[in-house]
Structures are given as structure tokens and as C-alpha cells.
Amino acid sequence: MKETVVDVQGVRTLVREAGAGPPILFLHGPEDPAWSPALARLASAFRVVAPDHPGMGRTPPGPDFDTMDDIVYHYLDLIDTLGLGEATLAGASFGGWIAAELALIMAPRLRRLVLVDAAGLRVGDTDLPEIYLMSDEDLARFLVADGKHAPLVFPPSEDLGVIERRLVQRATLARFTWAPYWHDPKLLGRLRRISTPTLVLWGSDDRFISQAHAKEFAARIPRATLRQIEGAGHLPHLEQPERVSEAIEKFHGSM
């Protein structure tokens, strides 16, 4: 795996990359972005490109990035810069929301779309649970199905740099998800326009974004398949890397 800093219209974006084959762009969630075992496995079949979002991980905040579409346009620029126009797009949680918004714009050009426990919708008359009143420790435990996986979300660290980066990351996440809380009211009605074959992967024990959201994504996106990942919470790529990478590979080869 190699890490490079890519200048995306002035935003010095950290990109992790490995493997050869059809490209897959992976967009991370609220966890510390890292080269996870799921990505390592995918790299045996794909060219995996995994950037840190602006203001998260090791990418600095974008100038005047205030709303989701600023991130979406950042990724349109990154896709052009790295020549990923025909890529498969995969995103988890917050990254899944970005992926869905990108797919609305790029649908005919994308090969496949994979949404893993994706945010972006408000289903029924219920808000997602409040995570901004949780400490990082509580949040990590909340996001996983098995408590012993919590350190995968925010690996324990005494490094002040890591602690500060995590605070900045949480602030960035809040900037884009505070209100409306973790969704775009328009997204639900627009999902019908995603013509890309789509795999909706969902942790069977996701306590943050419920199965009702999975069903809504699968029902609204015309060519969507829904698959549960057993034994995973909100972040299946961290808790069940084999099941996730297998599901994506199989889906990719299936059409």
C-alpha cells in the first residue's frame, strides 16, 4: 500500500492506494480512516483507492467547505484527477452518503455502487440516535456489534497529534451532519435516478442506522441488491472484513 498526497484543486488529499485491476474508490465513515483488512483483501482483485475526507484523518479541511455538495464536488475533482471515471464507488456510513450523492451526478459513468450502512436518509418519523453527546469511547462501542471490536474504530492512542486530529475529524463530521441531522431531505426522492447496479450492504446489528434505511435504499434505487453482513454493527468493513470484501468481489463479477 502506498500513501500519496494528491492536490485536488488545492486540497492536499491523503490517498491510500494498492492493487491492480478495475478501480474501486472507497469512502470511509466516522472511524479513524486507515488501510483496513477489508481494503487489503480487496486489493488482491482491484486497484483500491482510499482517500481521507477533507477535514478528516490526514486531509486538511477544504476552504469554505460547509455543506455536503462541497465534499461531492471535491470528489468529482479527485475522480478527474486520478482518472477514476469508470470506477466502482463504495462508501460506508458518512462515506456511503457521499457515494450516493456522487452516484446521482455520475450514475451513467460508474461501474458499480456499493453502499455500506449508508447515511443520508431520514426514514419514517425518526431521527438517527444522537451520537454527538457520546464520548469517543462510547461512540466506538455503539458503532460495533462486538465490544471487542471498538478499538478498531478509534485505535487507542496517547499521541496528542492523534487526539487532536480526532477532535478535528469529529468537528468536520458535525459540520456536515448537525442539521439536518445526518441526512439530506431531498436524497430519498432522488435515489430513483441512480441507474448504476448497486449493492446495499448492511450490518445485521447496526444500532446507528437501522435496517429500515437499508430497505429504503434498496427499494428506491432501481438496480439494487440488499445483503446483510452477519455479526457486524454500523461498520461491517471493520468488523467483518472477509464477508464485506467477498460480497463486493462477488457483486462485481456478477453482472
Binding site: 454527538y132 453527546l133 464520548s135 496528542l160 478535528v168 469529529r170 468537528a171 458535525a174 459540520r175 448537525w178
Partner: protein, 391 residues
């Protein structure tokens, strides 16, 4: 020095289990059910507290202070301008000091400009207009993105100052606030506009914001050493970045004070009420006090390094040792306040003489002892002839 009385107007009747079950009641804010507020009891409390503030004028205080907090049981003043209006025609002399209006949580800052201008006109210039960002919980209660709190604060401030000083109508085009017709009527009584104070939790951006505009800078709930440090930061910013030395009138010190005839009596009476304030009134998780994005990365680094103490860990002993508050006989407290106020060089002392669950009779006796025994020794301190004349 001007000496003021600040009131928080706490809701005193928390249910018994609130004091023992921190799991069930993690906060007196945001999520604490409003069904615990009883309007009949509330009527008594509001009127008792307003009487106390009016009494402060009779006793010789220079100003009375009110503030803004929402959806909580720490203080019952979601609308400080309404409290100020209730006091405006019942007082004749004191300044009415808003500590202050929380700007970022307003979608229409012109409303603040209008209300404060009305108060200023009616009182013939007795209004001090504090501006604050609002603390963390307000961003939950009003669903205001904390990431934009500082930008909105600055923009709303600029809009209000322009609304008070520029002939209208004129357009205002900011990032968060866009108005085609700014034409606030009435215009304020005070020229060029009501005095602006900045009560703060002490972030470096706010230090600069206040120092640059020569706005009085005020802090509450701090150990005295930390207070000295914070005021020194303000002075340093003024001197190093903006080329002037702040006058005493630009510096305010807020502190709870409790007096009784003997030391023992004072401590016995003060302790439960001040702990009510810190442990129960201010009860909230850290993330609620400082939601993500509320604090800039530079200040996050500052706080991470400083290692913060939560209000819940504060003990009565600690409050006394570190001089977060002053308790004792009038003579001992007078001596300490005179000494520290001189040393801090502050032109405003903002006293909290009713706090937490303190009943009316103790609050009034505290006010009386303070006014009789301490106030006269403080008012002659740190006086700078150049100020207030215009007001």
C-alpha cells in the same frame, strides 16, 4: 470600579432522584424534561428574583446583570431582553447589563438590534449590550451547527453594529445573514451605540475579537489564578496586536460571593447552594458543553494540553482554595476582594449573590451585608476618569 449584581434565576425545585441518579439525569439542559417546571412555583420564583434585582438598585449597586440560556433548569432566562424590559421601568438608576444576547442561535439578528435599541431608548441609555456565542447546549436545543457558531457570531455582531450606526435602509450581505433592507427603528439612544461587552469562556479568538474593538471582556466561573491569566491574555492581545493598553473599564471579573456574621455560618450556608450550581445546575456531559466544531482546532489543542476539570469534579474545598468564589465575614471578604480587584486591575466586578438553591432570605441578607460592608470599599478602586462620561 463599578460593582454589579448578576442573577442566573435558577429553577430550585429539582426532584429528589435528580440529586442521586446521574445516569437517569445526565444533564439539567437539553434533555432534562420541561415537565419538571411548575408554573405556579415559577411565578413566585421569577417575582422573587426580579425583586432581588430591583433591590440591588436600592442598595447602591451600579448595575444588574441578566443572561440568556435555553431549555434548562440552571437559569430561567431564555429571553434576557424580556427580563431587561421587566426591570427597565422598575429601576431608575442602575445599568441593565445583558450578559448577553446569544447571537449565533438567531436567524434574525436584526431582532436583537431592535430589542436592545428599544430598551436603550426607554431607559435613556442604561443598557449594556453583551454579546455571546451561547454555550454548547444551545446548539443542541436550537439545532444550530456549532461549526458556524463563530462565523455567525461575528457576522451578526457586524450586522447589529451597522444597524445601530448606519443610516438605513441599507443591504447587508454576509455568508450566513443576508438582508436587503436593514433599517432598524428605533435607533439607539446611546451614541454611537449601546456599550458592548463580551462575556466569554476565554477562547483565543474571542480575546482578539474583544481586544480589537476595545470591548469590555468578562469571565465567570474561573479560579482566580486562571482569571488573572485570562485578563492578562486580553491585555497582551490589546498591547501586542492592537497597540493600546486596556483601561480598567475594559476588564470585568465575575465571582460568587457569600457573606454572614461568622465564617462558620457563611460556609455552612453557602456550601449547599454553590454545589447545587456546579454539580446540579451546570450538570451536563462534556460533549454537550463543547459540541464538535464549537471550539476551533487551535483552542482544542490548548484545552487538550491544559487538561480540563469538569464542573462535577469541583469540590467546595477546591472552590475556596482556588478562589472561584469568596465566602466569609464581610471584613475578611472585603479585604480579599479589595486586594484581588486592585491586583487584577478590573473596572467591573460582577457579583453572584444569589446562586443555586439559595432561598430569598439568605440572598437578601447576603446582598445587604455586601452593600453595606463591602461595596463602599470597592467602588473607589480602579477608577479611570475618562470613561462613562458619555453614557
Amino acid at each position: 470600579m463599578q460593582v454589579h449584581m448578576f442573577h442566573l434565576m435558577p429553577w430550585q425545585k429539582l426532584p429528589k432522584e435528580y440529586f442521586t441518579d446521574f445516569e437517569k439525569y445526565p444533564a439539567a439542559w437539553v434533555t432534562y424534561p420541561n415537565t419538571f417546571f411548575e408554573p405556579e412555583e415559577g411565578a413566585d420564583l421569577y417575582n422573587t428574583y426580579l425583586d432581588q434585582l430591583e433591590y440591588a438598585e436600592t442598595l447602591g449597586f451600579d448595575g444588574v446583570c441578566v443572561n440568556e440560556h435555553h431549555q434548562n433548569h440552571y437559569g430561567l432566562m431564555p429571553a434576557p431582553n424580556i427580563i431587561a424590559a421587566l426591570l427597565a421601568r422598575r429601576t431608575k438608576r442602575v445599568k441593565i447589563i445583558l450578559l448577553g444576547n446569544a447571537l449565533p442561535i438567531r436567524d434574525h439578528p436584526q431582532r436583537v438590534a431592535e430589542e436592545v435599541a428599544m430598551l436603550d431608548v426607554v431607559t435613556r441609555g442604561r443598557i449594556v449590550s453583551g454579546f455571546v456565542r451561547g454555550i454548547g447546549p444551545e446548539h443542541y436545543s436550537f439545532d444550530i451547527n456549532p461549526a458556524f457558531s463563530r462565523e455567525r457570531f461575528q457576522e451578526a455582531h457586524d450586522l447589529i453594529i451597522q444597524a445601530w450606526t448606519r443610516p438605513g435602509p441599507f443591504p447587508f450581505y454576509g455568508k450566513h445573514y443576508k438582508f436587503r433592507y436593514v433599517n432598524v427603528t428605533p435607533r439607539p439612544y446611546t451614541k454611537p451605540h449601546p456599550e458592548v461587552w463580551i462575556p466569554t469562556l476565554g477562547s483565543s479568538e474571542t480575546v482578539d475579537f474583544a481586544a480589537e474593538r476595545r470591548y469590555p471582556y468578562l469571565m465567570l466561573y474561573l479560579a482566580r489564578a486562571r482569571m488573572a491569566q485570562a485578563l492578562a491574555e486580553y491585555t497582551r492581545a490589546a498591547e501586542d496586536k492592537f497597540g493600546y493598553t486596556p483601561r480598567p473599564e475594559q476588564k470585568g471579573w465575575g465571582t460568587p460571593v457569600y457573606l454572614a456574621e461568622t465564617e462558620a455560618e457563611a460556609h455552612a450556608q453557602a456550601e449547599p447552594h454553590i454545589l447545587w450550581l456546579f454539580h446540579h445546575g451546570l450538570r451536563m456531559p462534556g460533549a454537550m458543553l463543547s459540541p464538535p466544531g464549537y471550539t476551533s482546532p487551535a483552542n482544542i489543542a490548548r484545552y487538550v494540553k491544559a487538561g480540563k476539570t469538569g464542573f462535577r469534579e469541583v469540590t467546595y474545598k477546591k472552590l475556596l482554595e482556588d478562589e472561584w468564589m469568596f465566602v466569609g465575614t464581610p471584613a475578611s471578604v472585603r479585604e480579599r476582594l479589595v486586594h484581588h480587584a486592585s491586583e487584577l486591575g478590573v473596572g467591573h466586578l460582577v457579583t453572584l449573590l444569589q446562586f443555586g438553591s439559595m432561598p430569598n432570605h439568605l440572598a437578601r441578607r447576603n446582598m445587604e451585608l455586601f452593600a453595606r460592608e463591602v461595596l463602599p470599599a470597592l467602588q473607589p478602586l480602579n477608577v479611570n476618569g475618562a470613561m462613562v462620561a458619555a453614557r
